[in-house]
């Protein structure tokens, strides 16, 4: 009974991909422990979403419904989740290492008095003990860890690591609705406003293809050619930057990749005019494929790249865009 629980994350009426990834991972764990797989959903007026999770593997969906959950706040979410967890006593509780999961789970773990492995790159079960692997020292080392004495065993999992398993459209999940408790007037935090970003592109941590620019971009306006290449690849692609590019004012901080920026894990990372410093590599070395475009044949980035072109990025990038478009139009 106890259960493997995952936090179902959604935005603007749709589940985020990480939700399906977590359910796929949950199914693997379930095949080892036999415990039921449950999704935890918080929101208001989203029954339709609650009913969608069965085919992805959920046996049950705990749906905490309240107006207060319309916008995310760690304070209200912690309260609702912790109370439900205390009453149901699951053995495992997982979330994505997304902006929401990273903000929320540390407090839930502290409230429940249990351990949490953040930003995990792999987890497995061995005799009902969760085996956690997480990068430390900016990915220079991998650490194994367990949470042997307390429950639930908690972890946040990096997006883009788990392949989504096939959907079984006949499977239905039991939806268990519960009214939640936090009162708006008791909260000490309040979301006043959401400031939309300049770019309509998806977040770097979820992107499948990232075109990144460094100091070699020389100017803010030149980032346009990277945008164009990302657009040519289509959905799931985004633009990133090195710290030198951010500090020179070519790009906003929130697209910085690296040790003091975002840690990304795309299928393809194209580094344009980036030398490949140790701090930059910390943020992208786990990309499946790395492409380097740099005019300096000695640039360290070539040591890590699967494919490299030595040349002027201002010449190479537009040609790549052209070639990608050509291939895509050929189908």
């Amino acid at each position: 009974m106890p259960g493997i629980w995952i936090l179902a994350e959604h935005k603007e009426g749709k589940f985020k991909k990480i939700t399906y990834e977590l359910l796929s991972l949950g199914k693997k764990l379930k095949s080892k422990s036999g415990e039921e797989l449950c999704a935890l959903l918080l929101g208001s007026g989203i029954e339709n979403l609650a009913n969608q999770l069965g085919p992805y593997g959920a046996d049950k969906v705990y749906y905490l419904e309240d107006e207060v959950y319309k916008s995310y706040l760690n304070e209200s979410y912690t309260q609702g989740i912790s109370e439900l967890v205390k009453s149901q006593d699951p053995s495992i509780l997982l979330a994505g290492a997304t902006a929401l999961g990273k903000d929320l789970f540390p407090r839930v773990a502290a409230r429940l008095g249990t351990g949490l492995g953040t930003d995990c790159t792999s987890i497995d079960l061995d005799n009902n003990l969760l085996k956690i692997t997480r990068p430390i020292y900016a990915g220079k080392v991998l650490m194994e860890a367990t949470i042997p004495q307390t429950k639930p065993q908690m972890a946040t999992i990096r997006p883009n690591l788990v392949e989504i398993s096939p959907v079984d459209s006949s499977k239905k999940a039991e939806v268990i609705k519960s009214k939640a408790n936090p009162k708006k007037e008791d909260l000490r935090t309040m979301l006043k406003e959401i400031l939309k970003g300049e770019s309509k592109k998806i977040d770097l941590t979820e992107a499948k293809i990232i075109v990144s620019g460094g100091r070699g971009m020389k100017d803010k306006d030149n980032f346009k050619i990277l945008e164009e290449l990302a657009d040519a690849f289509g959905e799931g692609s985004s633009v990133g930057a090195s710290r030198a590019a951010v500090d020179s004012g070519f790009a906003p901080h929130d697209i910085q990749v690296g040790q003091t920026g975002k840690v990304v894990n795309p299928t393809l990372y194209i580094a344009c005019g980036i030398s490949g410093s140790i701090q930059h590599l910390a943020g992208m070395a786990t990309s499946k494929y790395i492409v380097a475009i740099n005019k300096d044949p000695e640039a360290p980035i070539f040591q890590k790249a699967d494919y490299g072109i030595v040349g002027d990025l201002f010449q190479v990038v537009p040609l790549l865009t052209q070639e990608v478009k050509k291939l895509k139009s050929e189908g």
């Binding site: 760690n74 502290a110 020292y137 220079k140 080392v141 194994e144 004495q149 790395i290 070639e323």
Partner: protein
């Protein structure tokens, strides 16, 4: 979830809620606590010990955690604006005093080192617990931390501190405005896809600082000289009224296992030839070998 009451004479005068309210309402003097950590410099080459249970620390150059520099800077800015006192708290071995001196040289007023052999091998939970015990002995209106320490990259301590002290927190803070007279703050936090949230929060509260928040100042020479003479208070298990079972490796909820080095990436191929041909070849490889396009 606070373990055990305090049995030790308080080291600092506790300011009760009403007094705090009155002081802040006058719009001045903000007490700021900043929690910092000493970590290996980001350039450090990491080497594992023979039994792969930890890293070799001998050759390492230690620095203040880069994110904590933003927290210290923000504290100094707030002090500059409203008046106040900046107190540094740091948990770690004796060598951490160097990081504390750096923050004092930047302009912090007082500092506390949490140091006890019993703290060794702890996790985020035990660290937050010890820090919250030390904070209970302080006056604070806001608590600042870095968003994560770049050694174990856990990014949990700020939340634990907030939880153990029953305070609200805002993480990944890239903008902070205080309204001391209303006992409130407005924090801008980074979420994803370039989006930011504006969160209003009642003080006291914890803020975990992100890079974009400010530009940390360099320590001035007189600052460095002054910092050398400042007393750094030391607090151990007894002063923090902590049970040895609740801290360090024993109290940890997340038990560390083996360390390993990730597989090294090998250099691939440099595509030769004229640029237009190379570009076409690369796109072809991305489609056929990597199956991306």
């Amino acid at each position: 979830m606070l373990l055990g009451g305090c049995c030790y004479p308080l080291l600092f005068l506790l300011d009760d809620n009403i007094q705090q309210e009155q002081r802040l309402r006058k719009g001045g003097f903000v007490n700021i606590a900043v929690c910092i950590k000493q970590v290996p410099d980001t350039e450090t080459k990491i080497v594992l010990n023979p039994d792969s249970t930890d890293i070799v620390t001998e050759e390492i150059k230690w620095v203040m955690n880069p994110y904590d520099e933003y927290a210290v800077e923000e504290a100094l800015k707030i002090k500059g604006k409203y008046g106040g006192k900046v107190t540094i708290l740091c948990m770690g071995p004796e060598r951490s005093v160097e990081a504390i001196r750096t923050s004092l040289a930047m302009g912090a007023d007082e500092a506390v080192l949490l140091n006890d052999p019993a703290f060794e091998g702890g996790d985020s939970f035990t660290t937050a617990l010890a820090l919250s015990k030390a904070l209970e002995q302080l006056e604070y209106d806001i608590i600042l931390t870095g968003k994560q320490a770049v050694d174990l990259d856990c990014s949990q301590v700020y939340a634990g501190i907030a939880e153990f002290l029953s305070l609200p927190y805002v993480s990944i803070v890239v903008g902070l405005e205080l309204f001391p007279d209303q006992k409130k703050a407005l924090a801008k936090r980074e979420t994803e896809g370039g989006e930011k949230e504006l969160i209003e929060v009642t003080l006291p509260a914890v803020f975990a600082c992100q890079k974009d928040l400010n530009t940390p100042r360099y320590a001035s020479l007189p600052g460095i000289m002054k910092a050398k003479k400042k007393e750094i208070k030391k607090l151990g298990l007894a002063e923090l009224c902590l049970n040895p079972e609740h801290v360090g490796a024993k109290g940890s909820k997340l038990k560390k296992g083996k360390y390993s080095l990730p597989p090294q990436r090998k250099a691939g191929i440099k595509i030769e030839g004229e640029i237009p041909e190379a570009a076409a070849k690369l796109v072809k490889l991305l489609r056929e070998e990597a199956k991306i396009i």
